[in-house]
Symmetry: C2
Subunit: 233 residues, 2 copies
């Protein structure tokens, strides 16, 4: 029976260091894929040691521009009894990344969906943060406009206090520094903030401080992939 | 420089199939661990192929009964310049599992903390659910008492609608069936519910339906490890 395998990609490091042997074995057996970026998917699959020439792989594209009417055609291999791999550009498909509507369609068409173990920057950051992991929320990107951003940060700080949960969010690398400044402005001094950058890469840093300490301690974030985790006191 | 490595354990399957080669290499180099259950940690480490006899490993215990004053002693190896591995019973330490306070203490004492890639049932369930993954919340366990449980389910359904996020929660295996019944009672017919059981194991199932469909479709959940994911329409 064909399966839609949901495959996490490396966070910028070596492909063979991103997935367990069992997952690599499953991926090597696939010939049909859907990927956010077919070109970088080919590089990832090549590094995983596919046993066939890359030109023999069929890689459909699913990105933020893909519209709902285009989804059924991407599942064509499943209807021909061939298993299919859904690949993200980095990390887990469908988690802060495109993919969920395609997985939903596979469920509606009655196909089996199976996730493979791999890296999630959100979970890696949370497990290394020291912050509350019994309850947490991933909130995606915050608003860009300054006053709405400050308001959203205060909403999240309040929600963290009421729900006793960690709030997790991300930003594009060139806006990270501005986000840290906004957090220092908007949050209470005793709110704890963890910033994890370049996870799984040689330059990985994970720092946890109260906002009062972050105000004194500048951190060079520009251009780095960062995850922000906030817990109100 | 000594490092506190945060290590995800397998979700009941083979240890060697849970971690990438790079993570296994790091773990094999460690001699000091802190684990929720030292006995099962020894079994996991043995399956990973530690290059020394298990009796040479030093494994401290950190579980739900561990009190804050006991934490500093668990970090003793770091103060002696020996890296330390923090292991959960299944899945990721500090994520719906003990560990966060120890990681927080390591940060306060200035030690480097590094997470290793491994399985998280929450993320595996989410990436295979087809539900919203741009925003999601993990809410832990719901209240046991029936009227408070129904009220909490309705709160989460409302929060899912307002925040446009997926709500994720878990239950002890013998109460799963009752939780599914409560969800069918409390939620709107068009709310979507995904139930993932026995993730990464041979009997893995992942099903996504609207509540109206779940009311017609009984599912045998008793005794299984399950993750519930809910998205309001």
């Amino acid at each position: 029976m064909p399966v839609l395998y949901v495959i996490a990609a490396s966070l910028g490091g070596t492909a063979l260091d991103a997935l367990p042997a069992a997952a690599i074995g499953v991926v090597r057996g696939l010939r049909d894929f859907v990927a956010e970026n077919p070109k970088s998917a080919r590089a990832f699959l090549s590094a995983l040691g596919m046993p066939v020439a890359l030109r023999e792989l069929n890689i459909g594209r699913l990105d933020e521009h893909t519209r709902a009417p285009e989804l059924p055609a991407l599942l064509a291999p499943l209807r021909q009894s061939r298993s299919l791999g859904l690949l993200s550009e980095a990390g887990c498909p469908g988690v802060a990344d495109p993919g969920a509507p395609l997985v939903g369609l596979a469920h509606r068409e009655g196909f089996r969906v199976a996730p493979l173990v791999g890296p999630s920057s959100i979970v890696l950051a949370l497990m290394a943060s020291g912050l509350e992991g019994q309850r947490f929320a991933f909130c995606g990107y915050l608003p860009r406009e300054r006053s709405r951003r400050i308001q959203r940060i205060r909403e999240l700080e309040l929600r963290s206090r009421i729900e006793r949960e960690t709030e997790i969010f991300i930003e594009t690398p060139y806006r990270n520094q501005a986000l840290l400044a906004a957090l220092c402005d908007a949050c209470r001094p005793d709110t704890r903030l963890c910033i994890a950058t370049d996870l799984t890469l040689p330059g990985e840093t994970i720092a946890l401080h109260g906002i009062a300490e972050w105000r004194r301690r500048p951190l060079e974030l520009a251009g780095k992939l960062a995850v922000f985790l906030l817990q109100a006191a």
